[in-house]
Every structure is written in C-alpha cells, then in structure tokens.
Symmetry: C2
Subunit: 242 residues, 2 copies
C-alpha cells in the first residue's frame, strides 16, 4: 500500500516538475529553434552527458554491496562504451557533428554556461554525499525519460534537416537503456523507503534532480532565447563550428 502511494507520489513529481514541461523543450521539439539555439543546447547538454558516468562512479564509490555495484556498472558501460564503438557520450558527439559543430570543441566543454556546470556538479556531489536512498532516488527522473525521448525523436525528425537515425542514435538507444536502469532503482527505493521520513527523503531527492535538469534549461533559455543575454565566457554563435 505504502509502496503504491510512494510510487504515485514520485510519478506526480515528474508530472509537475520534469523538464519536458520547460518552454525550451516545446520550442525545440516543435521546430521553433534556430540552428544556433539547437547548437547551444547540444553544447550545454554535453556537460550533463559527460558527467553522468562520473556521477555513477561516485555512486559506486560509496556502495558497499557488490551485487548493487554490478547492477549499477551497466550505466557507466552504456555511456562510456567500449574503446572501438564508444557509448552514449560518443553518440552525443554524432549529434554535435550533425548540427555543424566541431565535436572536439563540444567535447572540450568550452563555452558551457556556468549555471549548467554548477547544476551538473551539484548532481555529482549530491550522489556522492547524500544518504544512499537519496542518491538512488535522484536517478528516478529516468522514469520520465522515454516519453521525452520519443517526443524529441519525432519532433526533431519532423522539423530539422540535421535529424537522422544516426544523429539521433543517442536518444533511440536510451529508449531501451533507461527502463532497465530505472526498474532497478525504483524497486530499490520502494523497498528501502519504508518509513514516512524516508518517503519524504526519496521525494526530496527526485525534486532535487528535477531542479538540476530544469536549471540547465532555464540557463539555456535565458542565454540564447529570451532575453538572450549570453553570460561572459559562454558560447557565442559562430564559435566551434566544424
């Protein structure tokens, strides 16, 4: 009973706060972004993508249970991949190339908005330092990811010339990877959040994570859409092109 109510509570957080609600995503998926706005998104979201394996390693560095580490390890494998074929990170650079950016420029992390980097770094620290229950619960935004990825694939293919099976392979791959990860994480949280206090902690962690995602889009929107004030040191259109 308590498991069901907690799961409903977590899903409600997603319904209210997940970044699929952010106006930047509406703009992006409906074809309303300029090429430079798409580039700004690709450059800044890189900072998040590149940090995910470090976040997962931070989790494993505090996880004393080998069985749980084994489950978690596949997340790093998904993003880093093998030497030859690479993983999610390399697929993101395919997208960077497709929108006309130099992948080495994107991979350098230069031009990323400071607010984005702060949010990403806060996520790594959270997973490293907070109670294990909250470290796991913060990953549960993956519950809501397949829907936004499906919308994105459809919207980008419909509206932008750069969109293709190859350039969007990152998102398509996540459609199968994310559900596997989140099934384990959700089960773990529902099992371990066995007091009202712990249920609150799990909900807080998921809210924190939705804030991490939302803050990145706010920074992006502010710099490149409205009011369009690019902060010192951040990427300017024309830089980093292939």
């Amino acid at each position: 009973m308590s498991r069901e109510s907690l799961e409903a509570r977590l899903r409600q957080i997603g319904a209210e706060r997940y970044h699929d609600k952010h106006p930047f995503h509406h703009l992006l998926h409906s074809g309303g972004c300029t090429p430079d706005q798409v580039r700004a998104w690709v450059i800044n979201r890189w900072a998040y993508q590149a940090a995910i394996p470090m976040k997962d390693a931070a989790f494993m560095s505090r996880c004393t249970d080998p069985a749980m580490r084994r489950e978690w390890r596949s997340r790093i494998e998904d993003h880093d991949g093998g030497v030859e074929e690479g993983g999610g990170i390399r697929r993101w650079l395919k997208l960077a190339e497709a929108v006309g950016l130099d992948p080495d420029f994107v991979a350098s992390g230069r031009g990323v908005l400071p607010a984005t980097q702060f949010a990403v770094d806060a996520y790594i620290r959270y997973v490293r330092d907070m109670p294990l229950l909250q470290a796991v619960a913060s990953s549960l935004t993956e519950l809501f990811a397949p829907k936004i990825h499906e919308q994105r694939i459809e919207g980008l293919l419909q509206h932008y010339d750069f969109a293709s099976t190859e350039s969007l392979s990152y998102f398509r791959k996540r459609l199968t990877e994310a559900p596997k990860d989140v099934a384990f994480g959700l089960e773990w949280v529902l099992t371990h959040a066995d007091t009202p206090e712990k249920e609150d902690m799990a909900a807080e962690a998921l809210i924190f994570k939705t804030n991490v995602l939302w803050a990145q889009l706010d920074a992006l929107h502010s710099a490149y859409v409205e009011p369009g004030r690019i902060p010192p040191g951040a990427w300017h259109p024309g830089e980093g092109l292939a």
Copy 2:
C-alpha cells in the same frame, strides 16, 4: 631519460617498502601461522579487497576522460565480476570458506581491526581527493604484486592443508589481471610526471600506498602474533566459524 629514472625510483620504493618485506608475510608464506592467524589475515584483508572497487569507482568519479575511464573500468569488473560468476571478491570468500570461516561473517566486515579499516578508508579518500597524478600513482603497488602472489601461492600450497587451486584462485587470477592494470597506470604516470615536482608527487603517492598496505599487517601482527593484544571489538578466535 627522466622516464627511466622515475621508473627506477618507483621500483626502488617497492624494493624498500612493499609489504612483502613485512614479517607477517614471512610467517604466513613459510607455514608459521596458526589456523587462527590465517583466519585473522583472511578477515582483515577482506576489508581491503572489498574496498578496491569502491576505490576504483572513486577514481572514475573524478576522471573526465572517457578513454581513461574505459581502461579503469576493467578493475571494477575484475573484482565485482558478473552476477553469476562473481569476481575477485567472491574468490576471496572461497578462501574464507577454505580456512573454516563463515563467508557471510567475513563479508559482513565484523571483527575487522579498526586500524585496518582506517587504512583502507584513507586509501579511498586519497584516490578521490588528491591530484589525479597521485591517484594513479598510488595504484602502482601492483608493480610488485605478482611476485608476492607467486610466493604466496607456492608457500601456502606447500604448508597448509586448506590451500588448493580453488581456495587460492584469487591470487592466481591476479597474476594476469594486475600486470594489465599496472602497465596502463605506469605508462600514464611516466608520461604525466614531466617535472621534478610531479616526479616527487608520484613517488610520495606510491609511498603513501605502501604505508596503507604495511599498516594493515602491523595491526594484524600486533593483534594476533606479537604481542597478540586484540583490540576491543576485533575478531577473537572461535568467532565466525562455518
């Protein structure tokens, strides 16, 4: 030229300070340990084994280079292994069973000497917090590991009934795993320690790590050999038997 002198300096640190020189290892490998002294070693060394994947994850959590993370990931795979077959940690519990201990007791970490746990925790923190060069250099005790593992396999097989291919499989597996890891780490350190100051840093890191290993055996020797004063809360002979 500088590479060669640094490698020689690092190897000299091993020659002087690696824990193959510790009297406990001489006792163990020459058949001089009582069954309870062997058990105390298995219980305490568990704390170190169990922490190694966490240490390697701590390293990966700060490593921004996907290629380097890919190389490092195999260390965690070696120790945690797969769900079915397990890895080095599970092989260590085979040794625990062979010496008459309840593997669940050993895996619980109960009875581990506080000084051992402090040393192990210091190693994880070092790898997480110190400059990357030193985090890598601290792993280079693996340069000296195959020799001690060979001595150990030979000595244990010769002197103890519990020793068998299965119970010693941990050490035999490390004979092939360690050289692969250390080849990468050594090359990286020799390439990146490109100033006298950085050479000193690399040497200090390796000294730190030899101290981590040596301190564990000092604590073990003091508690269970001479003077044989077991600290409060630590394992007593008779506890945790299968």
